[in-house]
């Protein structure tokens, strides 16, 4: 009996203990609210200092420093800088960065870059021409994810002085130089081995990596010895991975994050339109093509491929999926570039009646059209409209939605079939035909290939600016439109959402350059 009473007392004591603990927690909690620690801000004057919290759908992937990608968009240009920088929303706007100046030879086959002599890495070591050679060598290794390997492979890079580099190329340099160097940021030869796993991320940028939690977040701290005096403005940048869109919206609304990247265009526009505290930030142009399987199936017939151009309601995709921010010219190239083939826009205008007749005449009515996409809400929404359009003209579309490893493997191995993709419009036509996986000659994801296509692409690469390049691009574009092996559906900017309290957020091709970004309080 006594034992039972003892156990009962112990039980009551335990219950009282838990209650006391709970009450203590509540009382402690009452002292200071965590929500008061989170930011907010207003559209007032900018102040130096402060912490920017940037939420991205993907975690930072240091192994991809030498490649362009959403995962590193918010941090990589804050840490690693290129010789030249290119505006993400205007690929013709090229400026020297780690190079103080550059001079292209009259034959356009060599360029001499003068490097800044006051630049040091975060480790304190001075930046020299040897670092440029080392970086390009790393970008060319077989396992490097560099997007510009094919161009770099054709370059001879020589250190012609401690702070001078000369690049020679078999093909014209001026159309590709800016984008190629922007997408090849300079890495530190002494610590590069630690870049892949993020253990040592040493660049020359305005911010140093203060901490990195793989898959979760990266915290950047101001580089006090940055070569541009007076920069950067912010004390600290926290890049946090928030894959869930609801959670990203919550992070913005609660004031935790001032910048968000990875929401769909519609979500981004909705929060910006409904809440005056946020604005949409354009992050560079993206092309959304439908690439067709031309080796087998219904699209071996050119007439059916062309019919697809008339069948798809591009404007509906632009309006309903991409917030009407894009254009539907049907061309792959960046508007505003010198070689943009004006006059070839809108070759395929939406005309379902014509498409239906062409498909009927080709005997393809009722044919199955499987379309492969990567699991992505934008491409899902795009597919729904395409499926609707194709069904209306007598075809039978079917969706094959794949996870990234499967999708990328199939595309790279040429077994992707008809696929929807999205690619950065990150340079001139000669740059894109050498680097873009839908267009390039070597290692392309596209299945269509003919000697004529190869010849026309080579003409674009060899043209070297001016009227000759414009003519070559026009010829290639006419051929692409006629063969219709891919239908460019929409070209639209990528979008991020920024709080109005965050100002000065320039976007380069490689990502955000937060040198002068600042927060108002």
């Amino acid at each position: 009996m006594g034992k039972q009473i003892g156990r009962g007392r112990r039980g009551r004591t335990a219950v009282h203990g838990v209650m006391a603990l709970a009450m203590a927690s509540v009382l402690t909690t009452g002292c200071e609210l965590a929500v008061n620690q989170q930011g907010g801000g207003s559209k007032a004057s900018c102040q130096p200092g402060g912490t920017l919290v940037a939420a991205a759908a993907q975690p930072p992937i240091p192994a991809r420093v030498l490649a362009q990608g959403a995962a590193n968009y918010f941090w990589v240009r804050a840490v690693f800088e290129p010789l030249l920088t290119v505006d993400g929303n205007d690929v013709t706007n090229v400026k020297p960065l780690l190079a103080s100046s550059y001079k292209i030879a009259p034959d356009d086959r060599s360029v001499t870059l003068q490097l800044r002599d006051n630049v040091t890495f975060h480790s304190g070591r001075p930046f020299t021409s040897a670092d440029v050679l080392f970086t390009i060598k790393q970008a060319l290794t077989p396992t490097s994810p560099s997007d510009v390997k094919s161009i770099l492979a054709g370059w001879q890079v020589e250190a012609t002085g401690e702070h001078e580099v000369t690049i020679r190329s078999q093909t014209p340099l001026s159309p590709v130089l800016g984008s190629t160097l922007e997408l090849t940021p300079i890495v530190d030869s002494q610590t590069y081995a630690g870049v892949a796993n993020g253990s040592s991320l040493i660049g020359t940028g305005p911010y140093k990596v203060a901490s990195y939690q793989p898959g979760a977040q990266m915290v950047l701290a101001r580089n006090e010895n940055y070569w541009q005096k007076g920069q950067p403005t912010l004390d600290r940048i926290e890049n946090v991975a928030i894959p869930d869109s609801t959670a990203q919206l919550s992070a913005l609304r609660s004031g935790r994050a001032q910048l968000s990247f990875g929401l769909t265009t519609q979500d981004a526009l909705t929060i910006a339109q409904r809440n005056g505290q946020f604005e949409v930030l354009k992050t560079g142009q993206t092309v959304y093509p439908l690439v067709l399987e031309t080796r087998s199936g219904v699209f071996t017939n050119k007439t059916v491929r062309q019919a697809i151009g008339y069948a798809i309601d591009r404007k509906r995709i632009n309006t309903q999926v991409l917030g009407n921010l894009g254009t539907t010219t049907g061309l792959y190239w960046a508007e505003g570039t010198e070689d943009y083939p004006k006059g070839l826009e809108n070759r395929y205008r939406y005309d379902p009646g014509k498409a239906r007749q062409m498909i009927k005449d080709a005997g393809a009515t009722g044919a199955a059209v499987p379309i492969t996409i990567i699991n992505n809400p934008v491409l899902h929404a795009e597919y729904e409209i395409i499926a609707n359009s194709l069904t209306a003209v007598g075809l039978k579309p079917a969706l094959i939605a794949l996870a990234a490893p499967d999708y990328q493997q199939r595309l790279a191995s040429g077994t992707g079939g008809n696929y929807l993709s999205f690619r950065g419009q990150n340079g001139t036509a000669p740059f894109m035909v050498q680097t873009n996986a839908d267009l390039r000659l070597q290692g392309a994801h596209r299945q269509f290939t003919t000697p004529q296509y190869t010849n026309l692409v080579n003409q674009v690469i060899q043209a070297g600016g001016g009227a000759q390049e414009a003519g070559a691009v026009k010829n290639l574009t006419e051929y692409m439109l006629d063969e219709a092996f891919m239908q460019v559906l929409v070209t639209a900017p990528g979008v991020a959402v920024r709080s109005t309290s965050l100002q000065n957020v320039p976007i380069a091709l490689g990502g955000l350059r937060p040198n002068e970004s600042c927060l108002s309080r």
Binding site: P142, G215, A241, Q409
Partner: protein, 314 residues
Amino acid sequence: MIRYLIRRLPSIVLVLVATSVIAFLLPRLVPGDPAAAVAGPDASPQTIAAIRTQLGLDKPLINQYFHWIGGVFTGDLGQSLQFQRPVSELIGDRLGSTVQLALLAAIFLVIFGIGLGILAGSARSRWARTLVEGTNTGFLAAPPFLVGLLLILLFGVAIRILPTSGEVSVLDNPNFGFQYLLLPALALALPMSAGVARLVQTSMQAIRQEDFVDLAVAKGVPPWRINIRHILRNSLGPAVVAIGIRFGDLLAGAVVIEAIFARNGLGQLAVSGAQSNDYPVMQVLVVGAVFIAVVAQLLTEITLSALDPRVRLG
């Protein structure tokens, strides 16, 4: 109890070995090449092939398995393909976050599950019971993610008093850490507590009909003592089993809750590993989850035997 644990050891080892084989093979049956994910969206077949070789994915499966399992016995859980960091480091970084969430959710599960069960199972007026049962039914019908979103709307948007995004470790700052944990833990625990409460309620109502309860009433034992000492104690068996099973569900539910509340726990690591076919990460997480389930099952049986002397371990 030690004899009981020793007797269970062979079956536990067998389960873990079988799990290790399944955890190794299952991710590899999923279509897709992790090297393609590492290489990126524009990669050429040559780059993907080079990365595959670099990651050792071109070696025979049997070699890869024994290389991994051999490492596990020496404390090396493998290397993440995506992050190129030791899996043990990735898990170690996140373990605290998930354990804190799971522990607080487990405490809430016990408090709300048994508390609501007692309220609903005790002799009360009809309206009070209807209210409790209505609450219970509401929680039963609502999945954790829905409760999470409602809590975010209520406490993060309408009445902004609790943080709805991010985390602070309780060990670093108990005050803020607790505030960051409160909503996710409630979102995780409340729907699950309804099932436990329903079990306690049903069990209490059945026990209340037993002769020994009538005897206690006839002897003039106070009602609270009858409820706690005689009815509740004898009704807790099914609840303990349910809580043991639900503990595994807490970890599974943490995947969704961590995503909604932007917490970087093991759930998020599992999702990211699955999305990128990061085999080593997935393998270890699956084996770890099974190990936790086995331990929870053992603890359940031990607790049951402590509650009810008629239950013998063995």
